[in-house]
Assembly symmetry: none
Homo-oligomer: 200 residues x 4
DNA sequence: GATGAATGAGTCTTCATTCAT
DNA sequence: GATGAATGAAGACTCATTCAT
């Protein structure tokens, strides 16, 4: 009796993706806390027991989702960088950063839900930390490029401030009607450019 | 006639304050959602029923707390303004604003918990709206002072951005060890000054 | 120090009446079960503690109210009988009975509420038994007048049947708009006359 | 593929029946309001959560029970009619009706509890309406057979009166010791026959 | 692996009754 | 007697997780 090993795995992977997609949609819609594991299972048209075959608990779903977001973010960063000229002027760099993050956030509504949830469920903060870190990574490069004299610590901190600002203003940006989205994003850029241009 | 009228009321008021203090502490510690009404009662050393003699439901506690925060915020604003010289330079004004808000947030750990909770519990958004509005009020004055040519709409929006930024960076500030708090606050000021100084 | 004994008592009696009036209104409006003792106290503008000074518990209020209803019913019976000619024909007697009971029920909405509650709260059945008995009393006389050959047991049983029928159809009668009330009452009379006219 | 599909369903159906049987017993014993969902679960030897897997709330149990009663009533009606000769004389028809309803009520102690509960819990009235309607249906046929000249409205009203009378006298009938039950039923029949025989 | 019924501790809230003032 | 805050045992319902099939 052939056990169809690889086929099995393929199906398992598909199921994992299905669960994550479904969870993402629900997290985005009603938030992490308000999303029940049974609701995820039901929306994915699988049984609760099956869900727990792939994820040991609810938090693990958030974890896996976060991993996916981190990968997606790297992707977006990569594409944006590849597409943009190499100039190292503050405004241009900020443009890239914000564009990338807006694109990412618009495409990943669950990411914001998770990060908002972390503000409220202590469990989640560990989970979303890697995502925040990933957001900071690129920002650190930019900070380094625009202020080469900073120590590593200062650079890290400055990047962290930038990302916090980005996260704070992002909801308004992605929630804005398309016509106004650019304006909202411009406001965010203004904050960042102002910040990074201010001499220490 | 031993009705002890005023004494009764005094005790009632004390109990309300006790409940609010306790709730505030728990909200700050584990968040609004994770705080159970029974836990509040237990922590306040009263019975669950007693709690409901003063507040019709859990949300009402958040409401009362918010009212207290709004009052406290007005107080802080008032004191800061009274104590500071009248100059209308951006950095000085920002100093006042940030100082006031840091003082307020440090003294009101529940305020952030409630605002974060609003990101997650639809019920809370109506409740905390007045607090956000109160924070914006003063910021709007400052924005008006530093950029007199803005329309009312622009002023409002700019103030809103400022407050979002403040809220985003505040946790790190109040969580910082006292020695580093000033540094962290300075970073926030830098963001705001940069933003408000950037020509449109 | 004169203790004003009788005055005290008068006030006490007034308070009891006040409580009963208030309870009656609430029972009629939302039913016995749904009426809380605190609601009675509040509606009577007294304190819960005061209420319990006059009634040891909620059931005792229903008991006192029932006693009042029994007295009221005797009154109504008495007045109706006094006002009607002495003929002993079935229809005329039934007319009297029904008229009396409709008058009583319309004037005592709490009585029906209590009897309905007895169908549901075992505690209440003992309480309302005297009222049911009082209703039966007069019916027994009528049954005796129309069928003199019945044994005491048969008479009692027949009267009980009549009263059950009356109670069953009464809500529809008193709830009917005034214009249709007579029609509804006629239907009840028809049932009773038919029943009492049927030879055994 | 060991999904045991049909077996699952069978067990589910059994459990639903178990819950309904248990609820029926408790409703009959202490009434709808006084029956707690936890008590139903405990009496059925299942967990509270399990109960809620089959019924979204307490009222839904009453609904399902009512549906069962309506079905049972149709059954009883059907059997009684099939077994009885076709004569259309009032007494014979009433015999059938009463026999059917006594049988039904004796077998369905919860039905009366639910109908009595409706007198007191607004939620229940919608729920039990179909049962009352089902009881009236057959009565309407009988009324139509015995008094063909009635308008539809009059027929409906007369049937309604009959059913109210039946409901009022039924508790005494089913509570009577077997030896006396027939007598008690006879009394009910006498009321109905008398009513329907009285010329308008 | 898949299923989905089962679990039970825990959530918010209520209310008859008590008791210090 | 009067007050009204205080009580605490329930009540209806939820949900992350488990387990027999």
């Amino acid at each position: 009796m052939a056990d169809g090993g690889p086929r099995r795995q393929v199906r398992g992977i598909r199921r994992i993706e299905l669960i994550l997609d479904t969870a993402e949609a629900l997290f985005a819609e009603v938030g992490y806390d308000a999303t029940t594991t049974n609701a995820i299972a039901a929306a994915a048209a699988i049984s609760p027991g099956s869900l727990y075959q792939f994820f040991p608990n609810k938090l693990a779903i958030a974890e896996a989702l976060t991993a996916r977001y981190v990968a997606g973010l790297d992707d977006v960063y990569g594409r944006i960088l590849a597409a943009s000229p190499g100039g190292a002027q503050v405004p241009a760099l900020i443009d890239q950063l914000v564009e990338a993050l807006v694109t990412f956030n618009a495409a990943s509504p669950g990411a914001r839900a998770l990060m908002a949830g972390a503000e409220v469920s202590p469990d989640l903060v560990t989970v979303v930390a890697p995502l925040h870190a990933a957001m900071c990574d690129r920002a650190e490069d930019i900070v380094g490029a625009t202020a080469p004299t900073l120590t590593a610590g200062q650079r890290k901190r400055t990047a962290d401030v930038c990302i916090h600002v980005v996260r704070a203003l992002m909801p308004a940006i992605v929630a804005a009607p398309p016509a106004e989205r650019a304006d909202a994003a411009t406001e965010l850029k203004r904050v960042l450019v102002g910040y990074l241009s201010t001499p220490r």
